[in-house]
C-alpha cells in the first residue's frame, strides 16, 4: 500500500470513528465530568455575595454579625437582579442551616422597601440575624469548592474548627444505604447466576423450536417496560396475591409470607428483571465451547460433575464474569423496584439521589452520591478488564 493511501485509510477511519467519539463525548464523558465537578463545587455564595465574603473575613465567628457585614450583605442582596441566582443562594444557605429561606426572603423584601441611603439594621428586620449561627453558615459556604457533599454522602462533616468527624446515625444513615445497595446487588447477581447458568446451559444444548421458545422467554421480558414488570410483581407478591394464595391453597403456609415490602420481594423482582443480562452473555460463551469436550472428558474417566467443574465452568468463566458484572452494575442503580416492592429498610442509594435531585434541587448532594456509586463500578470494570485480557492473552 502506498503512503498516500495509508493516509486516506487513516482519515477514513477517523471519519468513521468521529461521530462515535463525538457521541461518546456528549452523552457519556461530558455528563460524568459535570457530575464530578458538581460534587465538589459550591459557587453559589462566592459568586452572588462577594462583598459579604470579603466582610466575613474580619468577623469573630462567635459574635453577632458586624455592621460592615450587614451592610455588605444588604449591598449584595440588592445587587442580585436574577431571582434564580438569589434562589441558589437561599437553597445553599438553607441546606447549611434550616431557616434561611424565610430569613432571606423576609430580609430582601424589607431591604427593597427601604430607601437606598437608609441605615441597615438586619436584626431589626429579623431578630434571627442576632444569632451567630446564621452568619457562621454564610462563612461556611464561602469557598467555591467544597468536600462537604462527598463527606455528607458518607455521613461525615467538618465541625466549626474544620476537623472531619462522623455524624450520628440518627441524623444521617447513608453508609448503611450504601452497604445495603451493594448487598442487594450482590444477592441479585448471585440469584441470577444460580438461575441463569443452568438456563443458559439448557438453551445452548437444546435445538430447533425448543431453543426458540427458551430464547424468547428470556428476551420477551427484556422488551417489556421495567415499570410494568415491577407492577406485575407488586400484584403477585401481595398478601392476597397469586403467590401467597397459591401457597395457602396448597397448604404449604397458613399465614401470608409478607413478600411485599420486604427484601425477599425486592430480590425476587430485581432478579427477574435482570436475569436476561446474566443468561445472554453466558449463553453466547457456552455456544463457543466445542460440544465434544464433554464426551472427551468422560472418555478420560471424569464423571459429569468433574467434567463440568474442570472443563465447562473454566471455559465459560468469561460469560459468568461479564454476566455478573452487568447484573451487579445495573442493580446498584435500581430505584423504582425497591421503591415499589421494598419496605423502608430496602431503599437503595438511587432513592437518595432522587430526593436530592428532584425533591430538593440539591445537585451537589445528588452528584456526590452519583460519584460514590461510580467509583465501585469503575473498579469492577478495571478488574473485569484485567480478567478478560489475561484470559484472552492465554487463548491467543
Amino acid at each position: 500500500m502506498s503512503a498516500p493511501q495509508e493516509i486516506k485509510t487513516a482519515s477514513a477511519r477517523a471519519m468513521l470513528l468521529g461521530p462515535a467519539l463525538v457521541f461518546m463525548a456528549m452523552v457519556f464523558f461530558l455528563p460524568i465530568w459535570t457530575v464530578l465537578v458538581q460534587s465538589v463545587s459550591d459557587p453559589a455564595i462566592s459568586n452572588a455575595l462577594p462583598a459579604t465574603v470579603a466582610a466575613v473575613a474580619e468577623w469573630d465567628p462567635h459574635t453577632a454579625p458586624t455592621i460592615a457585614m450587614q451592610e455588605a450583605l444588604a449591598e449584595d442582596l440588592r445587587a442580585i437582579d436574577d431571582p434564580q441566582i438569589l434562589g441558589d443562594v437561599v437553597r445553599r444557605l438553607n441546606s447549611q442551616q434550616a431557616g434561611f429561606r424565610t430569613l432571606i426572603s423576609r430580609t430582601s423584601g424589607a431591604l427593597n422597601r427601604l430607601a437606598d441611603d437608609a441605615s441597615i439594621d438586619l436584626v431589626a428586620i429579623d431578630p434571627r440575624w442576632d444569632d451567630p449561627i446564621y452568619s457562621q453558615a454564610i462563612a461556611a459556604t464561602m469557598s467555591p469548592t467544597t468536600d462537604r457533599f462527598l463527606l455528607a454522602a458518607v455521613d461525615m462533616a467538618r465541625d466549626a474548627a474544620g476537623n472531619i468527624g462522623t455524624v450520628g446515625p440518627d441524623v444521617s444513615a447513608n453508609r448503611d444505604t450504601f452497604l445495603r445497595t451493594f448487598a442487594i446487588a450482590a444477592t441479585v447477581s448471585l440469584v441470577c447466576l444460580l438461575i441463569g447458568y443452568p438456563y443458559a446451559m439448557l438453551m445452548a444444548s437444546s435445538r430447533g423450536w425448543v431453543r426458540g421458545v427458551l430464547i424468547a422467554s428470556v428476551l420477551l421480558p427484556l422488551w417489556t417496560s421495567l415499570l410494568v414488570r415491577t407492577a406485575a410483581w407488586y400484584v403477585l407478591l401481595q398478601d392476597k396475591g397469586l403467590i401467597n394464595s397459591a401457597l395457602q391453597w396448597v397448604g404449604l403456609i397458613d399465614e401470608p409470607l409478607g413478600l411485599l415490602f420486604s427484601r425477599t420481594g425486592v430480590v425476587i423482582a430485581m432478579s427477574h428483571v435482570l436475569l436476561p443480562f446474566m443468561v445472554l452473555p453466558i449463553y453466547s460463551v457456552l455456544l463457543t465451547i466445542p460440544p465434544n469436550l464433554g464426551p472427551a472428558a468422560a472418555s478420560l474417566g471424569a464423571n459429569p460433575i468433574r467434567s463440568f467443574l474442570h472443563v465447562q465452568l473454566p471455559l465459560s468463566s468469561l460469560g459468568i464474569a461479564s454476566g455478573s458484572l452487568l447484573v451487579f452494575m445495573s442493580a446498584i442503580g435500581y430505584y423504582i423496584t425497591p421503591a415499589l416492592i421494598g419496605g423502608p429498610t430496602d431503599q437503595m442509594i438511587s432513592s437518595l439521589i432522587a430526593f436530592f435531585a428532584m425533591g430538593s434541587a440539591n445537585w451537589g448532594m445528588a452528584a456526590a452520591f452519583g460519584v460514590l456509586l461510580l467509583i465501585p463500578t469503575l473498579l469492577l470494570y478495571v478488574a473485569y478488564d484485567r480478567v478478560t485480557s489475561r484470559t484472552n492473552g492465554r487463548s491467543t
Binding site: D82, T345, Q347, G359, A361
Partner: protein, 359 residues
C-alpha cells in the same frame, strides 16, 4: 482502473458519511427545531387527573381549538428547576403544591400571573392567590379506611397509632411532611399547636419517638394512587390518603371507604406557568378557563376537593358539599399546612427522616 474505482468508492463513502453526519446532527438538534408543541398541562395523575381531563382539558381544547396534551407528575421542585434551567421547558402549565409554589416563585421559575385575565381576586380564598400561581383546589390529607373491613373505624390519629384496637398495617406518605404532624397529633398535641411544637428540637424528637412506636406496622407510599390500592387489596387496614381520591373511588368503583376529618391537614394546590414556556399565552387562557366558577363547580361531582373560588363553592350541589375539606363541619379539627415551616425545614427533616427509616 482499480485505483479509480477505489477513489469512486471512497468518494461515495465520504458522501454516505456526510449524509449520516447531517442526519445524525439533525436528530440531535431536532428537539429545538420541531414544530410548535401542543399546550402541555401537568397534574397529579390517577382519578383526579381523569376528572380534570373531562371538565377542563377536553372542553378547553374544544372551545379554544388548541389541542391539550396532559401529563402526570409526582411533585419535586428539582423537576421544575431542571426543566426551566435547561431552557425551553416541555411543560407549560403545572399544578404544584404550596411549597413548590413558594419555592419556585421566589426562585423565578414561574411566569407572573396576570390576574386580570384569570379571575377576580376578591372571589378567591387568600391562600389561593399568588403572583405566580392561581389556586386550583383545597385538598386534605386524612385517615382513610374501608368500612367493609372496619365497621367501627378510627376517629383520630391516636386511633391510627392504636394497633391493639385496630390490628394490621397502616400506610403513610413517605417523607417527614404530614408524617411528623400526624405523629404529634397522635401524641396528644392539639392541631393548632402542632407547628409550634414541631418548630423546637424537642418537638421533632417527640414526633420521631411517637413514630418509633408504630414503625413496624407502617408501610410508605409515594404516589397518590397507591394508598387506594393498598386499602383495596387489604394490604393495610388504614392509611393517610388524599381525601378527593377516596370519595372518587367510592363513586367510581362502589367502594365504601371513609375519610376521618379530625386531624386532617389542608393545603392548596395551584396552577403555575413555567418561566419562558412556549405556550404561555395559551397557558394563561387555560388557567382562566379552569378557574371560571361554573367550570370549577363541576369538580366535586367527580372528586371531592374544595374549591378556591367562593362563588364556585356556592354552586356545588348540596349532596357533594359534605365530602369537601372546605365544608364547615370538616374544618373544625383540621389543620392548615404551614408552608413556611416546610420550605425552611424540609431538607434537614427529610435527611433525619431517611436516617430514621434506615434504623
Amino acid at each position: 482502473m482499480g485505483n479509480l474505482d477505489g477513489k469512486g468508492k471512497q468518494m461515495s463513502n465520504r458522501l454516505t458519511l456526510t449524509i449520516a453526519g447531517v442526519v445524525g446532527l439533525s436528530t440531535l438538534l431536532a428537539p429545538t427545531m420541531t414544530m410548535a408543541r401542543d399546550l402541555t398541562v401537568v397534574s397529579w395523575g390517577g382519578n383526579y387527573q381523569d376528572a380534570q381531563r373531562e371538565i377542563f382539558f377536553k372542553p378547553f381544547a374544544e372551545t379554544s381549538g388548541m389541542p391539550v396534551l396532559d401529563e402526570a407528575w409526582d411533585g419535586g421542585i428539582g423537576v421544575i428547576q431542571s426543566k426551566v434551567r435547561a431552557g425551553n421547558p416541555n411543560w407549560d402549565v403545572v399544578q404544584v403544591e404550596a411549597e413548590e409554589l413558594a419555592l419556585g416563585c421566589f426562585d423565578g421559575l414561574y411566569e407572573t400571573i396576570d390576574w386580570s385575565r384569570v379571575a377576580d381576586q376578591n372571589d378567591f380564598l387568600p391562600p389561593a392567590i399568588s403572583e405566580c400561581g392561581v389556586g386550583a383546589i383545597v385538598w386534605s390529607t386524612a385517615i382513610a379506611y374501608d368500612s367493609a373491613v372496619l365497621a367501627e373505624g378510627p376517629n383520630s390519629w391516636a386511633d391510627f397509632w392504636d394497633t391493639a384496637k385496630f390490628p394490621g398495617k397502616r400506610a403513610l406518605r413517605k417523607g417527614p411532611k404530614y408524617t411528623l404532624e400526624f405523629a404529634l397529633m397522635a401524641d396528644g398535641v392539639p392541631p393548632h399547636d402542632v407547628y409550634q411544637v414541631l418548630s423546637t428540637p424537642p418537638g421533632v424528637d417527640r414526633a420521631f419517638a411517637k413514630l418509633d412506636e408504630l414503625k413496624d406496622s407502617l408501610v410508605w407510599w409515594e404516589a397518590g394512587a397507591q394508598p387506594l390500592q393498598l386499602l383495596a387489596s387489604g394490604e393495610v387496614v388504614m392509611t393517610a390518603a388524599y381525601n378527593g381520591r377516596i370519595t372518587g373511588i367510592n363513586r367510581s368503583e362502589g367502594r365504601n371507604f371513609k375519610v376521618v376529618w379530625p386531624g386532617s391537614i389542608l393545603a392548596v394546590d395551584s396552577w403555575v406557568i413555567l418561566k419562558d414556556a412556549e405556550n404561555k399565552e395559551a397557558a394563561l387562557d387555560f388557567i382562566s378557563f379552569a378557574s371560571k366558577p361554573e367550570n370549577l363547580a363541576k369538580l366535586p361531582e367527580f372528586i371531592a376537593y374544595g374549591l378556591p373560588s367562593i362563588s364556585a363553592s356556592d354552586m356545588v350541589p348540596a349532596e357533594y358539599q359534605l365530602d369537601l375539606p372546605t365544608y364547615p363541619d370538616n374544618l373544625t379539627e383540621a389543620l392548615p399546612l404551614d408552608v413556611d415551616f416546610w420550605i425552611d425545614n424540609s431538607e434537614s427533616l427529610t435527611q433525619r427522616f431517611n436516617a430514621w427509616l434506615n434504623q
